[in-house]
Point group: C2
Chain length 323, copies 2
Protein backbone atom coordinates (compact mmCIF):
# COMPACT_ATOMS: atom_id res chain seq x y z
CA UNK A 1 0.00 0.00 0.00
CA UNK A 2 1.40 3.37 -0.98
CA UNK A 3 0.29 6.95 -0.72
CA UNK A 4 -3.03 7.28 -2.46
CA UNK A 5 -4.32 3.89 -1.36
CA UNK A 6 -8.06 3.73 -0.81
CA UNK A 7 -10.39 2.81 1.99
CA UNK A 8 -10.47 -0.92 1.29
CA UNK A 9 -6.66 -1.09 1.17
CA UNK A 10 -6.33 0.58 4.56
CA UNK A 11 -8.93 -1.69 6.12
CA UNK A 12 -6.77 -4.61 4.99
CA UNK A 13 -3.64 -2.96 6.45
CA UNK A 14 -5.41 -2.55 9.80
CA UNK A 15 -6.64 -6.16 9.82
CA UNK A 16 -3.17 -7.44 8.97
CA UNK A 17 -1.43 -5.30 11.61
CA UNK A 18 -3.75 -6.43 14.41
CA UNK A 19 -3.79 -10.06 13.25
CA UNK A 20 0.01 -10.11 13.25
CA UNK A 21 0.07 -9.49 17.00
CA UNK A 22 -2.98 -11.62 17.84
CA UNK A 23 -5.17 -8.62 18.60
CA UNK A 24 -7.80 -9.07 15.90
CA UNK A 25 -11.07 -10.88 16.54
CA UNK A 26 -12.70 -11.63 13.24
CA UNK A 27 -15.49 -13.86 14.55
CA UNK A 28 -18.28 -11.64 13.29
CA UNK A 29 -16.27 -9.76 10.72
CA UNK A 30 -19.09 -9.81 8.20
CA UNK A 31 -21.43 -8.02 10.57
CA UNK A 32 -22.28 -4.33 10.57
CA UNK A 33 -22.10 -4.16 14.37
CA UNK A 34 -20.01 -6.31 16.69
CA UNK A 35 -20.54 -8.31 19.84
CA UNK A 36 -18.67 -7.17 22.91
CA UNK A 37 -16.68 -9.92 24.61
CA UNK A 38 -18.11 -10.97 27.95
CA UNK A 39 -21.00 -8.55 27.81
CA UNK A 40 -23.95 -10.81 27.12
CA UNK A 41 -25.59 -9.94 23.80
CA UNK A 42 -24.35 -6.36 23.62
CA UNK A 43 -23.59 -5.16 20.12
CA UNK A 44 -21.60 -2.05 19.41
CA UNK A 45 -21.11 0.08 16.34
CA UNK A 46 -19.08 3.20 15.68
CA UNK A 47 -19.69 5.48 12.72
CA UNK A 48 -18.48 8.93 11.66
CA UNK A 49 -20.41 11.79 10.08
CA UNK A 50 -18.33 14.64 8.66
CA UNK A 51 -19.50 18.10 7.57
CA UNK A 52 -18.87 18.60 3.86
CA UNK A 53 -18.38 14.90 3.35
CA UNK A 54 -21.63 13.30 4.46
CA UNK A 55 -23.73 16.45 4.08
CA UNK A 56 -23.28 19.93 2.54
CA UNK A 57 -21.02 22.40 4.35
CA UNK A 58 -21.90 25.16 5.12
CA UNK A 59 -24.93 23.23 6.28
CA UNK A 60 -28.44 24.46 5.49
CA UNK A 61 -30.07 22.12 8.03
CA UNK A 62 -27.77 21.73 11.08
CA UNK A 63 -30.38 20.03 13.24
CA UNK A 64 -30.96 17.38 10.61
CA UNK A 65 -27.19 16.98 10.17
CA UNK A 66 -27.02 15.97 13.83
CA UNK A 67 -30.05 13.72 13.51
CA UNK A 68 -28.85 11.78 10.47
CA UNK A 69 -25.41 11.17 12.01
CA UNK A 70 -27.01 9.23 14.84
CA UNK A 71 -29.24 7.38 12.36
CA UNK A 72 -26.13 6.40 10.36
CA UNK A 73 -24.72 4.67 13.43
CA UNK A 74 -28.07 3.08 14.36
CA UNK A 75 -28.52 1.64 10.90
CA UNK A 76 -25.74 -0.86 11.60
CA UNK A 77 -27.48 -1.94 14.80
CA UNK A 78 -30.63 -2.47 12.71
CA UNK A 79 -28.72 -4.92 10.54
CA UNK A 80 -27.94 -7.15 13.54
CA UNK A 81 -31.46 -6.92 14.92
CA UNK A 82 -30.35 -5.01 18.01
CA UNK A 83 -32.39 -2.84 20.35
CA UNK A 84 -30.46 0.43 20.91
CA UNK A 85 -29.61 1.47 24.46
CA UNK A 86 -26.35 3.39 24.90
CA UNK A 87 -24.92 6.38 23.07
CA UNK A 88 -21.40 7.79 23.29
CA UNK A 89 -20.39 10.82 21.24
CA UNK A 90 -16.82 11.64 20.31
CA UNK A 91 -17.37 15.06 18.77
CA UNK A 92 -14.74 17.12 16.99
CA UNK A 93 -14.97 20.76 15.96
CA UNK A 94 -13.06 23.89 16.85
CA UNK A 95 -13.29 27.27 18.48
CA UNK A 96 -14.18 28.88 15.13
CA UNK A 97 -17.07 26.55 14.33
CA UNK A 98 -20.16 28.79 14.33
CA UNK A 99 -22.39 28.39 17.38
CA UNK A 100 -25.43 28.78 15.11
CA UNK A 101 -24.40 25.44 13.59
CA UNK A 102 -23.34 23.69 16.80
CA UNK A 103 -26.44 24.33 18.90
CA UNK A 104 -28.99 22.84 16.48
CA UNK A 105 -26.49 20.13 15.47
CA UNK A 106 -26.33 18.95 19.09
CA UNK A 107 -30.11 19.30 19.49
CA UNK A 108 -30.60 17.11 16.42
CA UNK A 109 -28.44 14.37 17.95
CA UNK A 110 -30.49 14.57 21.14
CA UNK A 111 -33.70 14.35 19.08
CA UNK A 112 -32.52 11.21 17.34
CA UNK A 113 -31.44 9.67 20.66
CA UNK A 114 -34.84 10.32 22.23
CA UNK A 115 -36.68 9.07 19.13
CA UNK A 116 -34.76 5.79 18.83
CA UNK A 117 -34.27 4.73 22.46
CA UNK A 118 -30.70 5.85 23.13
CA UNK A 119 -29.36 7.44 26.31
CA UNK A 120 -26.18 9.51 26.18
CA UNK A 121 -23.71 7.79 28.53
CA UNK A 122 -20.42 9.50 27.82
CA UNK A 123 -18.22 11.04 25.21
CA UNK A 124 -15.34 13.21 24.27
CA UNK A 125 -14.65 16.57 22.64
CA UNK A 126 -11.64 17.32 20.51
CA UNK A 127 -10.38 19.62 17.79
CA UNK A 128 -11.09 19.08 14.10
CA UNK A 129 -10.98 21.26 11.04
CA UNK A 130 -14.61 20.36 10.21
CA UNK A 131 -17.41 19.36 12.56
CA UNK A 132 -17.33 15.60 12.87
CA UNK A 133 -19.45 13.26 14.96
CA UNK A 134 -17.97 9.87 15.80
CA UNK A 135 -21.01 8.09 17.15
CA UNK A 136 -20.88 4.95 19.27
CA UNK A 137 -24.14 3.05 19.76
CA UNK A 138 -24.68 -0.13 21.72
CA UNK A 139 -27.64 -2.37 22.33
CA UNK A 140 -28.64 -5.96 22.91
CA UNK A 141 -28.82 -8.00 19.75
CA UNK A 142 -31.09 -10.64 18.33
CA UNK A 143 -28.86 -11.88 15.55
CA UNK A 144 -28.06 -15.59 15.52
CA UNK A 145 -24.59 -17.07 15.31
CA UNK A 146 -22.76 -16.40 12.05
CA UNK A 147 -23.71 -18.82 9.30
CA UNK A 148 -20.89 -18.34 6.86
CA UNK A 149 -21.14 -16.81 3.40
CA UNK A 150 -24.20 -16.58 1.18
CA UNK A 151 -24.58 -19.60 -1.09
CA UNK A 152 -25.85 -20.11 -4.65
CA UNK A 153 -29.64 -20.17 -4.57
CA UNK A 154 -30.02 -17.63 -1.75
CA UNK A 155 -32.43 -14.88 -2.79
CA UNK A 156 -31.51 -11.20 -2.38
CA UNK A 157 -33.88 -8.50 -1.16
CA UNK A 158 -33.93 -4.75 -0.59
CA UNK A 159 -36.27 -2.90 1.78
CA UNK A 160 -37.94 0.47 1.23
CA UNK A 161 -36.86 2.46 -1.81
CA UNK A 162 -33.33 2.96 -3.08
CA UNK A 163 -31.36 5.95 -4.31
CA UNK A 164 -33.54 8.72 -2.93
CA UNK A 165 -30.88 10.28 -0.71
CA UNK A 166 -28.20 10.11 -3.41
CA UNK A 167 -30.58 11.66 -5.91
CA UNK A 168 -31.36 14.53 -3.51
CA UNK A 169 -27.65 15.22 -3.23
CA UNK A 170 -27.09 14.93 -6.98
CA UNK A 171 -29.92 17.36 -7.76
CA UNK A 172 -28.94 19.86 -5.06
CA UNK A 173 -25.35 19.36 -3.83
CA UNK A 174 -25.38 22.54 -1.71
CA UNK A 175 -28.66 21.91 0.06
CA UNK A 176 -29.70 18.32 -0.67
CA UNK A 177 -33.19 19.81 -0.53
CA UNK A 178 -34.52 20.42 -4.02
CA UNK A 179 -37.76 22.30 -3.44
CA UNK A 180 -39.28 20.38 -6.34
CA UNK A 181 -38.65 17.08 -4.53
CA UNK A 182 -39.55 17.37 -0.86
CA UNK A 183 -39.78 13.58 -0.52
CA UNK A 184 -36.17 13.18 -1.67
CA UNK A 185 -35.05 15.90 0.72
CA UNK A 186 -36.84 14.17 3.58
CA UNK A 187 -35.11 10.92 2.72
CA UNK A 188 -31.75 12.69 2.78
CA UNK A 189 -32.18 14.74 5.95
CA UNK A 190 -34.55 12.70 8.12
CA UNK A 191 -33.80 9.02 7.46
CA UNK A 192 -35.21 6.22 9.60
CA UNK A 193 -32.99 3.44 10.91
CA UNK A 194 -34.81 0.19 10.10
CA UNK A 195 -34.52 -1.13 13.65
CA UNK A 196 -37.90 -2.84 13.92
CA UNK A 197 -37.47 -4.39 10.48
CA UNK A 198 -34.03 -5.72 11.42
CA UNK A 199 -35.38 -7.36 14.56
CA UNK A 200 -38.33 -8.84 12.67
CA UNK A 201 -36.07 -10.21 9.94
CA UNK A 202 -33.76 -11.97 12.39
CA UNK A 203 -36.76 -13.72 13.96
CA UNK A 204 -37.33 -15.48 10.62
CA UNK A 205 -35.48 -18.80 10.35
CA UNK A 206 -34.74 -18.41 6.63
CA UNK A 207 -32.71 -15.19 7.05
CA UNK A 208 -29.01 -15.82 6.38
CA UNK A 209 -27.64 -12.27 6.19
CA UNK A 210 -28.69 -8.65 6.69
CA UNK A 211 -26.67 -5.53 5.85
CA UNK A 212 -27.58 -1.89 6.00
CA UNK A 213 -27.45 0.11 2.76
CA UNK A 214 -25.13 2.98 3.61
CA UNK A 215 -23.07 3.22 0.43
CA UNK A 216 -25.60 2.35 -2.25
CA UNK A 217 -27.58 -0.82 -2.83
CA UNK A 218 -25.27 -2.36 -5.43
CA UNK A 219 -22.14 -1.90 -3.36
CA UNK A 220 -23.93 -3.27 -0.28
CA UNK A 221 -25.07 -6.42 -2.07
CA UNK A 222 -21.62 -6.89 -3.62
CA UNK A 223 -19.98 -6.60 -0.19
CA UNK A 224 -22.03 -9.36 1.47
CA UNK A 225 -19.72 -12.35 2.00
CA UNK A 226 -20.70 -14.75 -0.73
CA UNK A 227 -19.61 -18.03 -2.27
CA UNK A 228 -20.07 -17.42 -5.99
CA UNK A 229 -21.51 -14.26 -7.52
CA UNK A 230 -24.71 -12.27 -7.84
CA UNK A 231 -27.37 -12.15 -10.50
CA UNK A 232 -29.15 -8.82 -10.14
CA UNK A 233 -32.24 -7.41 -11.85
CA UNK A 234 -31.84 -3.60 -11.70
CA UNK A 235 -35.45 -3.14 -12.85
CA UNK A 236 -36.63 -4.91 -9.71
CA UNK A 237 -34.90 -2.47 -7.35
CA UNK A 238 -37.61 -0.63 -5.41
CA UNK A 239 -37.90 3.06 -6.28
CA UNK A 240 -39.99 5.86 -4.82
CA UNK A 241 -42.55 7.78 -6.84
CA UNK A 242 -40.43 10.90 -6.30
CA UNK A 243 -37.41 9.10 -7.73
CA UNK A 244 -39.35 7.85 -10.75
CA UNK A 245 -40.83 11.29 -11.37
CA UNK A 246 -37.46 13.04 -11.41
CA UNK A 247 -36.24 14.08 -14.83
CA UNK A 248 -32.77 12.71 -14.34
CA UNK A 249 -29.57 14.09 -15.62
CA UNK A 250 -27.42 11.04 -16.16
CA UNK A 251 -24.98 11.99 -13.39
CA UNK A 252 -27.84 12.04 -10.94
CA UNK A 253 -28.97 8.64 -12.12
CA UNK A 254 -25.44 7.33 -11.82
CA UNK A 255 -25.09 8.56 -8.26
CA UNK A 256 -28.40 7.15 -7.21
CA UNK A 257 -27.54 3.82 -8.80
CA UNK A 258 -24.61 2.89 -6.59
CA UNK A 259 -24.18 5.75 -4.14
CA UNK A 260 -26.09 7.18 -1.31
CA UNK A 261 -27.08 6.70 2.24
CA UNK A 262 -30.61 5.36 2.22
CA UNK A 263 -30.05 3.32 5.38
CA UNK A 264 -32.42 0.65 4.13
CA UNK A 265 -31.66 -3.04 4.63
CA UNK A 266 -30.38 -5.64 2.16
CA UNK A 267 -31.00 -9.23 3.15
CA UNK A 268 -30.68 -12.79 1.92
CA UNK A 269 -33.10 -15.71 2.33
CA UNK A 270 -32.32 -19.42 2.03
CA UNK A 271 -34.45 -22.47 1.40
CA UNK A 272 -37.71 -20.61 0.88
CA UNK A 273 -39.74 -19.55 -2.18
CA UNK A 274 -39.84 -15.84 -3.02
CA UNK A 275 -43.60 -16.05 -2.69
CA UNK A 276 -43.37 -17.33 0.87
CA UNK A 277 -40.82 -14.64 1.72
CA UNK A 278 -43.26 -12.01 0.41
CA UNK A 279 -46.09 -13.43 2.48
CA UNK A 280 -43.96 -13.41 5.62
CA UNK A 281 -42.78 -9.85 4.96
CA UNK A 282 -46.35 -8.72 4.45
CA UNK A 283 -47.29 -10.09 7.87
CA UNK A 284 -44.35 -8.16 9.39
CA UNK A 285 -45.31 -5.03 7.41
CA UNK A 286 -41.84 -4.87 5.83
CA UNK A 287 -41.86 -3.46 2.28
CA UNK A 288 -39.13 -5.22 0.32
CA UNK A 289 -38.42 -6.38 -3.22
CA UNK A 290 -36.71 -9.47 -4.59
CA UNK A 291 -33.82 -8.07 -6.64
CA UNK A 292 -31.56 -11.02 -7.34
CA UNK A 293 -30.06 -14.37 -6.52
CA UNK A 294 -26.70 -15.75 -5.51
CA UNK A 295 -25.27 -17.79 -8.42
CA UNK A 296 -22.18 -19.96 -8.74
CA UNK A 297 -20.50 -17.75 -11.40
CA UNK A 298 -18.37 -15.09 -9.72
CA UNK A 299 -18.92 -11.36 -10.20
CA UNK A 300 -22.12 -9.49 -10.87
CA UNK A 301 -24.43 -10.52 -13.70
CA UNK A 302 -27.27 -8.19 -14.63
CA UNK A 303 -30.49 -10.05 -15.34
CA UNK A 304 -31.86 -6.95 -17.08
CA UNK A 305 -29.71 -4.33 -18.79
CA UNK A 306 -28.80 -1.65 -16.28
CA UNK A 307 -29.58 1.91 -17.34
CA UNK A 308 -25.91 2.66 -16.68
CA UNK A 309 -23.04 0.28 -16.17
CA UNK A 310 -21.29 0.71 -12.83
CA UNK A 311 -17.88 2.41 -13.21
CA UNK A 312 -14.85 0.17 -12.63
CA UNK A 313 -14.40 1.61 -9.15
CA UNK A 314 -18.02 1.93 -8.12
CA UNK A 315 -18.96 3.24 -4.73
CA UNK A 316 -17.48 5.81 -2.51
CA UNK A 317 -14.03 6.16 -0.99
CA UNK A 318 -14.18 7.72 2.43
CA UNK A 319 -10.64 9.06 2.26
CA UNK A 320 -10.82 11.35 -0.77
CA UNK A 321 -10.99 15.05 0.10
CA UNK A 322 -14.47 16.53 0.54
CA UNK A 323 -15.78 19.10 -1.93
CA UNK B 1 -22.88 30.16 24.72
CA UNK B 2 -21.53 32.08 21.75
CA UNK B 3 -18.79 31.56 19.24
CA UNK B 4 -15.54 31.17 21.10
CA UNK B 5 -17.06 29.18 23.96
CA UNK B 6 -14.75 26.58 25.44
CA UNK B 7 -14.79 22.85 26.05
CA UNK B 8 -16.58 23.00 29.40
CA UNK B 9 -19.32 25.24 27.98
CA UNK B 10 -20.03 22.84 25.14
CA UNK B 11 -20.13 19.85 27.46
CA UNK B 12 -22.85 21.69 29.38
CA UNK B 13 -24.72 22.47 26.13
CA UNK B 14 -24.64 18.78 25.21
CA UNK B 15 -25.85 17.69 28.67
CA UNK B 16 -28.67 20.21 28.59
CA UNK B 17 -29.79 19.27 25.07
CA UNK B 18 -29.97 15.56 25.86
CA UNK B 19 -31.51 16.11 29.29
CA UNK B 20 -34.23 18.26 27.75
CA UNK B 21 -35.49 15.29 25.73
CA UNK B 22 -34.91 12.65 28.42
CA UNK B 23 -31.97 11.10 26.58
CA UNK B 24 -29.22 11.76 29.12
CA UNK B 25 -28.20 9.20 31.70
CA UNK B 26 -26.08 10.90 34.32
CA UNK B 27 -25.94 8.00 36.77
CA UNK B 28 -22.19 7.68 36.63
CA UNK B 29 -21.45 11.11 35.28
CA UNK B 30 -18.44 11.53 37.53
CA UNK B 31 -16.76 8.46 36.13
CA UNK B 32 -14.08 8.35 33.47
CA UNK B 33 -15.70 5.39 31.75
CA UNK B 34 -19.36 4.45 31.70
CA UNK B 35 -21.45 1.36 32.29
CA UNK B 36 -23.42 0.04 29.36
CA UNK B 37 -27.10 -0.49 30.10
CA UNK B 38 -28.13 -4.13 30.21
CA UNK B 39 -24.63 -5.43 29.50
CA UNK B 40 -23.51 -6.79 32.86
CA UNK B 41 -20.48 -4.91 34.17
CA UNK B 42 -19.24 -3.68 30.79
CA UNK B 43 -17.63 -0.26 30.89
CA UNK B 44 -16.95 1.76 27.81
CA UNK B 45 -14.81 4.77 27.09
CA UNK B 46 -14.20 6.80 23.96
CA UNK B 47 -11.22 9.10 23.51
CA UNK B 48 -9.67 10.99 20.62
CA UNK B 49 -6.01 11.49 19.73
CA UNK B 50 -5.25 14.11 17.09
CA UNK B 51 -1.99 14.71 15.20
CA UNK B 52 -0.60 18.14 15.99
CA UNK B 53 -2.83 18.44 19.00
CA UNK B 54 -1.91 15.54 21.25
CA UNK B 55 1.52 14.98 19.71
CA UNK B 56 3.83 16.85 17.30
CA UNK B 57 2.89 16.92 13.60
CA UNK B 58 4.75 16.07 11.43
CA UNK B 59 5.31 13.20 13.80
CA UNK B 60 8.81 11.96 14.59
CA UNK B 61 7.56 8.72 16.17
CA UNK B 62 4.44 7.51 14.32
CA UNK B 63 4.40 4.09 15.95
CA UNK B 64 4.41 5.64 19.41
CA UNK B 65 1.71 8.09 18.32
CA UNK B 66 -0.54 5.11 17.61
CA UNK B 67 0.46 3.40 20.85
CA UNK B 68 -0.21 6.36 23.13
CA UNK B 69 -3.64 7.03 21.57
CA UNK B 70 -4.79 3.58 22.70
CA UNK B 71 -3.23 4.16 26.13
CA UNK B 72 -5.15 7.45 26.42
CA UNK B 73 -8.41 5.56 26.02
CA UNK B 74 -7.34 2.74 28.34
CA UNK B 75 -6.39 5.17 31.09
CA UNK B 76 -10.08 5.91 31.68
CA UNK B 77 -10.79 2.18 32.01
CA UNK B 78 -8.00 2.05 34.61
CA UNK B 79 -9.84 4.67 36.66
CA UNK B 80 -12.92 2.43 36.96
CA UNK B 81 -10.88 -0.68 37.70
CA UNK B 82 -11.87 -2.37 34.46
CA UNK B 83 -10.19 -5.21 32.62
CA UNK B 84 -9.91 -4.24 28.92
CA UNK B 85 -11.42 -6.55 26.31
CA UNK B 86 -12.82 -4.85 23.20
CA UNK B 87 -11.35 -2.22 20.89
CA UNK B 88 -13.15 -0.27 18.16
CA UNK B 89 -11.26 2.28 16.08
CA UNK B 90 -12.92 5.17 14.27
CA UNK B 91 -9.95 6.47 12.32
CA UNK B 92 -9.89 9.62 10.25
CA UNK B 93 -7.21 10.72 7.79
CA UNK B 94 -7.16 11.41 4.08
CA UNK B 95 -5.76 10.29 0.76
CA UNK B 96 -2.80 12.69 1.15
CA UNK B 97 -1.75 11.45 4.60
CA UNK B 98 1.71 9.92 4.06
CA UNK B 99 1.78 6.14 4.10
CA UNK B 100 5.10 6.30 5.98
CA UNK B 101 3.11 7.77 8.88
CA UNK B 102 0.01 5.58 8.58
CA UNK B 103 1.68 2.18 8.52
CA UNK B 104 3.65 2.53 11.78
CA UNK B 105 0.76 4.50 13.35
CA UNK B 106 -1.53 1.51 12.81
CA UNK B 107 1.17 -0.93 13.94
CA UNK B 108 1.55 1.07 17.16
CA UNK B 109 -2.17 0.77 17.88
CA UNK B 110 -1.94 -2.98 17.31
CA UNK B 111 1.05 -3.15 19.66
CA UNK B 112 -0.83 -1.38 22.42
CA UNK B 113 -3.86 -3.64 21.90
CA UNK B 114 -1.75 -6.78 22.17
CA UNK B 115 0.14 -5.43 25.20
CA UNK B 116 -2.96 -4.43 27.17
CA UNK B 117 -5.42 -7.22 26.42
CA UNK B 118 -7.59 -5.63 23.73
CA UNK B 119 -8.98 -7.29 20.60
CA UNK B 120 -9.99 -5.16 17.63
CA UNK B 121 -13.70 -5.86 17.06
CA UNK B 122 -14.76 -3.23 14.56
CA UNK B 123 -14.32 0.30 13.42
CA UNK B 124 -14.74 2.93 10.80
CA UNK B 125 -12.65 5.03 8.43
CA UNK B 126 -13.45 8.55 7.38
CA UNK B 127 -11.88 11.71 6.06
CA UNK B 128 -10.13 14.27 8.27
CA UNK B 129 -7.68 17.05 7.64
CA UNK B 130 -5.28 15.57 10.24
CA UNK B 131 -4.86 11.96 11.30
CA UNK B 132 -7.19 11.35 14.22
CA UNK B 133 -7.91 8.20 16.19
CA UNK B 134 -11.23 8.01 17.99
CA UNK B 135 -10.67 5.00 20.19
CA UNK B 136 -13.44 3.01 21.84
CA UNK B 137 -12.42 0.57 24.56
CA UNK B 138 -14.66 -1.68 26.62
CA UNK B 139 -14.10 -4.09 29.45
CA UNK B 140 -15.67 -5.49 32.55
CA UNK B 141 -15.39 -3.22 35.54
CA UNK B 142 -14.68 -3.63 39.21
CA UNK B 143 -15.81 -0.20 40.37
CA UNK B 144 -18.48 -0.11 43.06
CA UNK B 145 -21.70 1.86 42.87
CA UNK B 146 -21.24 5.63 42.85
CA UNK B 147 -20.78 7.06 46.33
CA UNK B 148 -21.48 10.70 45.71
CA UNK B 149 -18.98 13.55 45.94
CA UNK B 150 -15.77 13.65 47.94
CA UNK B 151 -16.30 14.98 51.47
CA UNK B 152 -14.20 17.11 53.83
CA UNK B 153 -11.60 14.90 55.45
CA UNK B 154 -11.04 12.65 52.44
CA UNK B 155 -7.33 12.41 51.63
CA UNK B 156 -6.05 12.98 48.08
CA UNK B 157 -3.35 10.92 46.41
CA UNK B 158 -1.40 10.81 43.13
CA UNK B 159 0.32 7.74 41.68
CA UNK B 160 3.65 7.60 39.88
CA UNK B 161 5.30 10.89 38.98
CA UNK B 162 3.62 13.98 37.59
CA UNK B 163 4.44 16.41 34.81
CA UNK B 164 6.99 14.32 32.93
CA UNK B 165 5.07 14.18 29.64
CA UNK B 166 4.22 17.89 29.73
CA UNK B 167 7.82 18.75 30.47
CA UNK B 168 9.00 16.64 27.51
CA UNK B 169 6.65 18.59 25.26
CA UNK B 170 7.67 21.95 26.74
CA UNK B 171 11.38 21.22 26.28
CA UNK B 172 10.97 19.83 22.76
CA UNK B 173 7.64 20.81 21.14
CA UNK B 174 8.58 19.40 17.73
CA UNK B 175 9.81 16.03 18.93
CA UNK B 176 8.81 15.64 22.58
CA UNK B 177 12.07 13.71 22.77
CA UNK B 178 14.84 15.87 24.19
CA UNK B 179 17.93 13.74 23.82
CA UNK B 180 19.14 15.04 27.18
CA UNK B 181 16.04 13.60 28.89
CA UNK B 182 15.30 10.11 27.58
CA UNK B 183 13.16 9.32 30.64
CA UNK B 184 10.86 12.25 29.90
CA UNK B 185 10.62 11.21 26.25
CA UNK B 186 9.71 7.68 27.28
CA UNK B 187 6.99 9.05 29.56
CA UNK B 188 5.59 11.07 26.66
CA UNK B 189 5.74 8.46 23.92
CA UNK B 190 5.33 5.13 25.72
CA UNK B 191 2.99 5.74 28.65
CA UNK B 192 1.49 2.90 30.70
CA UNK B 193 -2.20 2.80 31.50
CA UNK B 194 -2.45 2.09 35.25
CA UNK B 195 -4.88 -0.78 34.78
CA UNK B 196 -3.58 -3.10 37.50
CA UNK B 197 -3.33 -0.21 39.95
CA UNK B 198 -6.91 0.86 39.22
CA UNK B 199 -8.22 -2.65 39.87
CA UNK B 200 -6.17 -2.94 43.08
CA UNK B 201 -7.41 0.44 44.32
CA UNK B 202 -11.08 -0.42 43.79
CA UNK B 203 -10.62 -3.59 45.85
CA UNK B 204 -9.84 -1.38 48.87
CA UNK B 205 -12.93 -0.44 50.90
CA UNK B 206 -11.66 3.05 51.73
CA UNK B 207 -11.42 4.20 48.09
CA UNK B 208 -14.12 6.77 47.29
CA UNK B 209 -12.96 8.06 43.92
CA UNK B 210 -10.37 7.44 41.21
CA UNK B 211 -9.66 9.59 38.14
CA UNK B 212 -7.01 9.33 35.50
CA UNK B 213 -4.61 12.25 35.12
CA UNK B 214 -4.97 13.16 31.45
CA UNK B 215 -4.96 16.97 31.64
CA UNK B 216 -2.54 17.64 34.50
CA UNK B 217 -2.70 16.64 38.14
CA UNK B 218 -4.12 19.92 39.45
CA UNK B 219 -6.93 20.06 36.94
CA UNK B 220 -7.74 16.39 37.58
CA UNK B 221 -7.99 16.88 41.33
CA UNK B 222 -10.04 20.06 40.87
CA UNK B 223 -12.47 18.22 38.57
CA UNK B 224 -13.29 15.41 41.03
CA UNK B 225 -16.85 15.98 42.27
CA UNK B 226 -16.39 17.39 45.73
CA UNK B 227 -18.42 18.94 48.54
CA UNK B 228 -16.18 21.77 49.72
CA UNK B 229 -12.73 22.53 48.36
CA UNK B 230 -9.20 21.20 48.22
CA UNK B 231 -6.13 21.87 50.31
CA UNK B 232 -3.11 20.91 48.19
CA UNK B 233 0.58 20.69 49.03
CA UNK B 234 2.42 21.19 45.71
CA UNK B 235 5.71 20.14 47.31
CA UNK B 236 4.22 16.72 48.03
CA UNK B 237 3.41 16.02 44.37
CA UNK B 238 5.57 13.10 43.25
CA UNK B 239 8.24 14.01 40.71
CA UNK B 240 10.71 11.93 38.74
CA UNK B 241 14.47 12.34 39.05
CA UNK B 242 14.50 13.43 35.40
CA UNK B 243 11.93 16.11 36.16
CA UNK B 244 13.86 17.37 39.18
CA UNK B 245 17.13 17.41 37.25
CA UNK B 246 15.75 19.51 34.41
CA UNK B 247 16.90 23.12 34.39
CA UNK B 248 13.44 24.52 33.85
CA UNK B 249 12.50 27.52 31.86
CA UNK B 250 9.50 28.91 33.67
CA UNK B 251 7.12 28.12 30.78
CA UNK B 252 8.15 24.52 30.96
CA UNK B 253 7.54 24.49 34.69
CA UNK B 254 4.15 26.10 34.13
CA UNK B 255 3.13 23.51 31.58
CA UNK B 256 4.26 20.63 33.69
CA UNK B 257 2.44 22.06 36.68
CA UNK B 258 -1.10 21.82 35.35
CA UNK B 259 -0.82 20.36 31.87
CA UNK B 260 0.19 17.10 30.40
CA UNK B 261 -0.88 13.57 29.79
CA UNK B 262 0.84 11.44 32.38
CA UNK B 263 -2.06 8.97 32.56
CA UNK B 264 -1.35 8.36 36.21
CA UNK B 265 -4.22 8.02 38.71
CA UNK B 266 -5.56 10.49 41.26
CA UNK B 267 -7.59 8.96 44.06
CA UNK B 268 -9.34 9.78 47.32
CA UNK B 269 -9.46 7.76 50.57
CA UNK B 270 -12.02 8.07 53.37
CA UNK B 271 -11.97 7.05 57.00
CA UNK B 272 -8.40 5.84 57.06
CA UNK B 273 -5.10 7.30 58.26
CA UNK B 274 -2.56 8.30 55.64
CA UNK B 275 -0.14 5.87 57.27
CA UNK B 276 -2.53 2.98 56.79
CA UNK B 277 -3.15 4.00 53.18
CA UNK B 278 0.61 3.96 52.60
CA UNK B 279 0.95 0.51 54.15
CA UNK B 280 -1.86 -0.84 51.98
CA UNK B 281 -0.39 0.73 48.84
CA UNK B 282 3.00 -0.76 49.63
CA UNK B 283 1.43 -4.21 49.79
CA UNK B 284 -0.15 -3.61 46.38
CA UNK B 285 3.14 -2.20 45.02
CA UNK B 286 1.44 1.07 44.03
CA UNK B 287 3.73 4.10 44.29
CA UNK B 288 1.62 7.08 45.36
CA UNK B 289 1.94 10.25 47.40
CA UNK B 290 -0.47 12.03 49.74
CA UNK B 291 -0.86 15.48 48.18
CA UNK B 292 -3.83 17.03 49.92
CA UNK B 293 -7.17 16.86 51.68
CA UNK B 294 -10.76 17.80 50.96
CA UNK B 295 -11.73 20.77 53.18
CA UNK B 296 -15.02 22.55 53.75
CA UNK B 297 -13.83 25.90 52.32
CA UNK B 298 -14.52 26.03 48.55
CA UNK B 299 -11.79 26.51 45.95
CA UNK B 300 -8.17 25.43 46.05
CA UNK B 301 -5.96 26.32 49.00
CA UNK B 302 -2.22 25.71 48.67
CA UNK B 303 -0.69 24.30 51.83
CA UNK B 304 2.76 25.26 50.54
CA UNK B 305 3.44 28.17 48.20
CA UNK B 306 3.26 26.89 44.62
CA UNK B 307 6.27 27.68 42.45
CA UNK B 308 3.84 29.34 40.04
CA UNK B 309 0.23 30.29 40.60
CA UNK B 310 -2.14 28.62 38.14
CA UNK B 311 -3.41 31.05 35.49
CA UNK B 312 -7.09 32.04 35.81
CA UNK B 313 -8.00 29.59 33.05
CA UNK B 314 -5.67 26.74 33.91
CA UNK B 315 -5.64 23.58 31.91
CA UNK B 316 -6.17 22.85 28.33
CA UNK B 317 -9.05 23.60 26.02
CA UNK B 318 -9.50 20.88 23.46
CA UNK B 319 -11.17 23.18 20.94
CA UNK B 320 -8.47 25.78 20.35
CA UNK B 321 -6.60 25.34 17.06
CA UNK B 322 -3.49 23.13 17.17
CA UNK B 323 -0.05 24.67 16.63
Amino acid sequence: VTRGAGEADWIEVIRAAFSAVGAYDAVDDDRDAHLLAGAGRAFLNVDAHVAGRHYPWPCPRPQDAGYRGVVAALSDLAAVGARPADLFLSLAFNSDTPAHFLHPWIAGMADAAARWGLRLRGGNLTWADRPTAHTVVAGSGAVRAARGPLLPGDSLWLTGTQGDAALALALDPQGAAPSAFPELAARFWRPEPRLAWGRALWRRPWIVGVSDVSDGWLRTLAAMPCQGGLSIDPDAVPRSAAYMAADLPSQALADSYWGGEDWELAFAARGIDARDVRRSLRRAKIPAAHVGTVISAPGITFASAPALAPPPHFGYDCLTPPA
